[in-house]
């Protein structure tokens, strides 16, 4: 079973703090690792993504760290804001396809 395991299930962070969400994957055929942000009643929005040939990618307050040997990748949100309160999903597509396997999601709440 090709799974993507995500943790924690929920996270509460103070405004200005760092939010960290982790994902572990099993299928080594994955070669693209995106994070999606989803607000209630909306579709997932692509937040940031990384290819396995780099270990870190930063876009503004969002950073992906990737550990190929451990088959893990994480999302760091620096200076977390109340507007970041949403559900975050990691995912992996099978190599050469757009068939995505999603994690179970992390509900982030940033306190003002």
């Amino acid at each position: 079973q090709q799974q993507v395991k995500q943790s924690p299930q929920s996270l509460i962070v103070q405004k200005g703090g760092i939010s960290i969400i982790n994902c572990a994957y099993e299928n080594t055929a994955f070669d693209y690792f995106p994070w999606y942000q989803q607000f209630p009643g909306k579709g997932p929005a692509l937040l940031i993504a990384i290819r396995p040939d780099v270990s870190e990618k930063k876009e503004g307050r969002f950073t992906i760290s990737f550990n190929k040997s451990a088959k893990q990748f994480s999302l760091h949100i620096m200076d977390s804001q109340p507007g970041d309160s949403a559900t975050y999903f990691c995912a992996g597509p099978f190599s050469g396809t757009y068939k995505y396997i999603f994690g179970t999601g992390t509900r982030l709440k940033v306190l003002a």
Binding site: P34, G43, A45, L46, T97, Y98, Y100
Partner: protein, 114 residues
């Protein structure tokens, strides 16, 4: 440039009925995938269309079928609706192979089966 658009946004159907959901992909994208997202869960892959053919399929029964048109838009059909089919149905479009790995999602269609 319009993103991925889905219609309708909300739908209420009775158990046993049939439903058709529609999706227009992002400009320049030729691959459309459909996902089912139950409340509090991650999206689950239903199937994917490319060049008007079903290319991949997830673990969903034959009651779920689809179609892709020459303009790359797509439909998802669900027959003999069950209460358990109530979910947010998401369409994702992706660029031609080799042009990227991204999948961009629409806002979804909330289907309620009563």
């Amino acid at each position: 440039d319009a993103g991925v658009t889905q219609s309708p946004t909300h739908l209420i159907k009775t158990r046993g009925q049939q439903v058709t959901l529609r999706c227009s992909p992002k400009s320049g994208h030729d691959t459309v995938s459909w996902y089912q997202q139950a409340l509090g869960q991650g999206p689950q892959f239903i199937f994917q269309y490319y060049e008007e053919e079903e290319r991949q399929r997830g673990n969903f029964p034959d009651r779920f079928s689809g179609h892709q048109f020459p303009n790359y838009s797509s439909e998802l059909n669900v027959n003999a609706l069950l209460l358990g089919d109530s979910a947010l149905y998401l369409c994702a479009s992706s660029p031609p192979q080799g042009a990227g790995y991204e999948a961009f999602f629409g806002q979804g269609t909330r289907l309620t089966v009563v």
